[in-house]
């Protein structure tokens, strides 16, 4: 075409005009820390594995999850999911059912027999782990992945710690527990049962261990001074729940009173019901709001017919099973005060669920340790005062949950690994938090949370069948897809679409995007319209 001068122009000629020169601010793709990741005591990359689950890549999701936590099927049943509490979706409609999806992935893995790969090479180092509870198992998993030789020594007859001897079957079926434990052992972890360590240093030297991780838990029941007759049937919650694992179930009788307000108390009461008690009564000195037990567990218990006597303390127990109970009243500071009013309560047995202490005997004589409030003090590197002896879980100061224990195990493993090679482990600095105000929630469609099905009431109280069911695959997928992917690009193409200057380059599936700074004018629409807050504006430096 013989185009007239200046009036008619060739296509593409505007590319000579580099409008990027106009900018005073430029956009930057960032990865922000999702609040779920931030809240998880086990440090899972929750957003990361949900991302995989969303597209139906369940094995990839499971492998992403188990990078940090080897026990998802267990977590999906017993974790108190602080991730869900901090989930940004909760500010939109309801939190994503992260816990349900984790359980689904864990169950899928067990169903399909997905295995952990054993490490490629051995490091030549040996690590002793004392206690086969969640913390010890987690440490074993991570240390084994680092290539170290790992041996777990467990005092009890079975592995699992509180997962086996504290959490009832109706919350955590034993085949699930066994499956996840075995999978770790299959990596080449040695397990010695029925073997209590009495002197840690000696045991280490004898076995030529280069380091040790102690995770003995806290399974000595605290006692309160309650005067009781000789024949009064008074037990502690720890031993009651432990004995549930044996051949002989505990004989609690028809009317069982449980003293205490934590989850253990509820576990015992609900167990008692299942064992045939007609009445299971919890006696707690404060009110429901003050009860340390989780609310949903209280709900489930009440649904099952457990009774709770608030604002009451037990003064004594007579031989015939009569308890003297004093009513309490909360004072201005919320502390219960005796009122001087008494009543009686008949009970075939009284179970004390007043908290647990650590058996620190294996640390006797070990120099350099700091013991405070019945727990071992450890540094930021999970090491005790004795070089090479690390500790975690309920035996160190912590919020005593399975997930925290698992988190300690991972953290300790990393520090042990570094220590074994003469280095220190410095965790990478955390990204900026992806708070709700950084999201653009308009882009998320309404999708209320999927509720997990509950076992019918009648069956709940007569069997130890799992009370809370799992999600079907459709539901789990739906639930995973409710994730807002806070702070992490999930390739929604918004930035690519909303740029008026066509200054975003789409690199292809899985490769995200890049800004074309030759033309970006720094308007910031991409930042405003990124649904998950994965872009921010920074000033131009020149």
């Amino acid at each position: 075409m013989d185009k007239p001068y200046a009036i008619t122009l060739d296509v593409g000629s505007s590319l000579a005009n580099k409008t990027g020169a106009w900018r005073t601010n430029r956009p930057l793709y960032v990865d922000r820390l999702p609040p779920c990741n931030d809240a998880c005591p086990a440090g899972e990359n929750i957003q990361g594995w949900l991302y995989q689950a969303e597209s139906g890549n369940y094995e990839a999701a499971w492998r992403a999850l188990t990078e940090d936590n080897p026990l998802p099927a267990i977590m999906g049943r017993v974790c108190y999911h602080p991730c869900e509490t901090s989930c940004n979706r909760g500010k939109l409609d309801e939190a994503v059912g992260i816990n349900s999806v984790e359980r689904f992935l864990g169950d899928e893995a067990l169903k399909r027999g997905w295995k952990f790969s054993p490490p490629k090479a051995g490091s030549g180092k040996r690590v002793l782990i004392v206690g086969a509870g969640p913390s010890g198992l987690s440490a074993a998993y991570h240390l084994r992945r680092f290539g170290h030789s790992v041996k777990i020594v467990e005092a009890g007859p079975l592995a699992g710690g509180m997962m086996r001897f504290g959490i009832p079957k109706y919350r955590l079926p034993r085949d699930v527990l066994d499956g996840e434990v075995q999978r770790i052992l299959d990596m080449g972890v040695e397990l010695e049962l029925n073997s209590k360590v009495t002197n840690i240093v000696e045991t280490m030297n004898a076995g030529r261990f280069d380091a040790a991780f102690l995770a003995v838990g806290a399974h000595i029941a605290k006692r309160a001074y309650i005067p009781a007759g000789e024949a009064a049937h008074m037990l502690d919650a720890v031993s009651v729940l432990r004995s549930m694992e044996g051949e002989e179930k505990p004989m609690l009788g028809r009317r069982v009173v449980v003293y205490g307000g934590g989850n253990t108390a509820l576990d015992v009461a609900r167990t008692a019901k299942r064992l045939g008690a007609t009445e299971a009564i919890i006696v707690y000195r404060r009110t429901r709001e003050k009860m340390p037990a989780h609310d949903f567990e209280i709900e489930e218990a009440l649904q099952e017919g457990v009774l709770i006597k608030w604002l009451s303390t037990i003064k004594n127990m007579a031989d015939e099973g009569t308890l003297t109970v004093e009513k309490m009243a909360l004072d201005a500071t919320g502390f219960p005060q005796p009122t001087g009013e008494f009543e009686t309560l008949e009970a075939d047995s009284l179970v004390l669920a007043l908290g647990q202490d650590v058996d620190l005997s294996l640390l006797d004589g070990v120099p350099g340790l700091a013991i405070k409030d019945g727990t071992v003090q450890v540094g930021r590197n999970m090491m005790t005062g004795y070089a090479g002896i690390f500790a975690g879980g309920d035996m160190v100061p912590s919020e005593r949950t399975v997930t925290v224990g698992v988190g300690h195990g991972k953290k300790a493993a990393r520090h042990i690994h570094a220590w074994l090679s003469g280095n220190t482990y410095e965790p990478a600095p955390k990204h900026e938090l992806a708070t709700f105000d950084k999201l653009n929630p308009w882009y998320f469609s309404d999708a209320p949370k999927t509720m997990r099905p509950l076992l019918e009431l009648a069956r709940r109280t007569s069997t130890f069948e799992e009370v809370v069911g799992g999600l079907t695959e459709d539901n789990a997928l739906f639930e995973a897809r409710r994730c807002l992917s806070c702070g992490n690009c999930f390739e929604c193409d918004n930035c690519y679409g909303v740029c008026p200057d066509n200054a975003v380059i789409k690199l292809g599936p899985g490769k995200r995007f890049e800004f074309n700074f030759d033309y970006c004018k720094g308007c910031g629409i991409c930042v405003s319209e990124c649904p998950c807050g994965a872009i921010k504006m920074v000033p131009e430096t020149t």
Partner: protein, 417 residues
């Protein structure tokens, strides 16, 4: 083929022979018969491969033609007077974009006061828009010029206005020779656009051009018209060869070889002028006339050549540069730059007033005696004018001028002179 037909219809037939592809029609006296004729031909499927579009204004008419032409098809429209002014923006636009649209102007006076009769004020108002302007002397020439216009426009990529006097030519029945389709096809090839809107080869037409390039663009359009000065006579020569008659060209001289007085005029009045020249030649006057066909580009060189030997030049104009005098005179004066002779501007025929042989005779004789003013209004009713001036000076609220004059002279158009 010889025909006795109305001027408008002759033009319509000529256009149809040129294989137009898009025709836009908006009615305005006195061109309407042209587009009506074409509309009938399209509707009767005598003219095929052509879209006939009834638009809602003259502005739309030329705009539709602009779109069609830019999209690579041969486009045509016609207008007059107020309509031409209404599309003024588009007139400049078409020339600026270099689109080879052909448009007939049925010359008509521009209001206010509203007047439907012939003069050249309409096409003159657009003389500098960049269009080529050709003036037809006869119905035959009007027909022929359109055929030449399409070829001229498309070779140069410049729009062309063919001007024909309203009513005098458009509505007059005259004998014309309508060429055959073969003859026209042999003269006018298919339209091959210089630029075109085409998805296969996209371009952006109509960019904004700033100070750094605007002058060059304008120079190039000026240069285009200078090339036309060569091309127009060439095409006329080719036309004569193929069709056997003289039509078009830059100017036509009549008995000017030894003339002392030469009259210059545009359009149909040249017929009357030539008759008076013959009359006066018969009584010994050395007088001749020049008919300017191509007003844009203005034929400075050939006009100089034709006029330089005379003692005096009378420019007879059907238009008025208000506050100055003549429009055509300006161009004529320029062509005579450096040559000393007496130049007279005569404003005649405004608003369709008849130009009679008797008036012209008187005028030319006055000219021979050099007894003409610089600017003369032919057959001006001095009585009416002086009466009106007096009336206006008497009171401030003197009312509308035109209506006052009409009241004085009686009915409209009854006074011919």
């Amino acid at each position: 083929m010889l025909k006795q037909t109305e001027g408008s219809h002759a033009v319509a037939e000529a256009i149809a022979l040129c294989r137009p592809q898009v025709i836009c029609a908006y009615p305005i006296t006195p061109q309407t018969h042209i587009v009506e004729g074409l509309g009938e031909m399209v509707k009767a499927e005598e003219l095929v491969g052509c879209e006939f579009i009834n638009v809602e204004s003259e502005f739309a008419a030329l705009s539709v033609a602009i779109g069609a032409s830019a999209a690579g098809v041969r486009a045509y429209t016609a207008t007059s007077s107020q309509g031409l002014l209404f599309m003024a923006e588009a007139v400049y636009n078409a020339a600026g974009l270099g689109l080879p649209i052909v448009m007939t102007i049925g010359n008509r006076a521009i209001g206010a006061p509203i007047n439907i009769w012939n003069d050249h004020s309409d096409s003159m108002s657009m003389r500098d828009a960049g269009w080529i302007q050709l003036y037809a002397e006869t119905n035959q020439e009007a027909l022929d010029l359109h055929i030449q216009a399409f070829r001229l426009a498309e070779e140069l990529s410049c729009p062309v206005m063919v001007c024909m006097d309203g009513f005098i030519l458009t509505h007059a029945y005259d004998r014309v020779d309508v060429p055959t389709q073969e003859q026209v096809d042999a003269f006018l090839p298919r339209y091959d656009p210089r630029q075109m809107l085409d998805p296969a080869d996209p371009v952006s037409i109509g960019a904004m051009v700033g100070p750094e390039a605007f002058t060059e663009v304008r120079y190039l359009s000026h240069h285009k018209q200078l090339r036309a000065l060569r091309l127009i006579p060439e095409l006329a020569a080719t036309f004569r060869k193929q069709f056997g008659r003289d039509s078009g060209g830059l100017i036509r001289t009549y008995r000017t070889e030894d003339a002392e007085t030469i009259v210059v005029a545009l359009g149909s009045v040249n017929g009357t002028v030539q008759e008076v020249v013959d009359e006066m030649r018969a009584t010994g006057s050395r007088i001749g006339s020049v008919s300017i066909c191509s007003f844009r580009p203005f034929p400075l060189a050939v006009l100089r050549e034709a006029l330089q030997g005379a003692k005096r030049v009378v420019v007879l104009e059907k238009c008025l540069a208000v506050g100055l005098g003549g429009i055509v005179s300006d161009g004529v004066r320029k062509s005579l730059s450096g040559i000393v002779l007496n130049g007279y501007t005569v404003i005649a025929g405004l608003g369709g007033r008849a130009i009679t042989r008797a008036s012209l005779r008187r005028l030319f004789e006055d000219a021979e005696r050099d007894e003409l003013d610089q600017v003369t209004f032919l057959d001006l009713n001095a009585d009416v004018v002086s009466h009106e001036l007096e009336r206006e000076s008497e009171s401030r609220r003197s009312g509308p001028t035109a209506e006052a004059i009409l009241r004085r002279i009686g009915t409209v158009a009854s006074h011919i002179g």
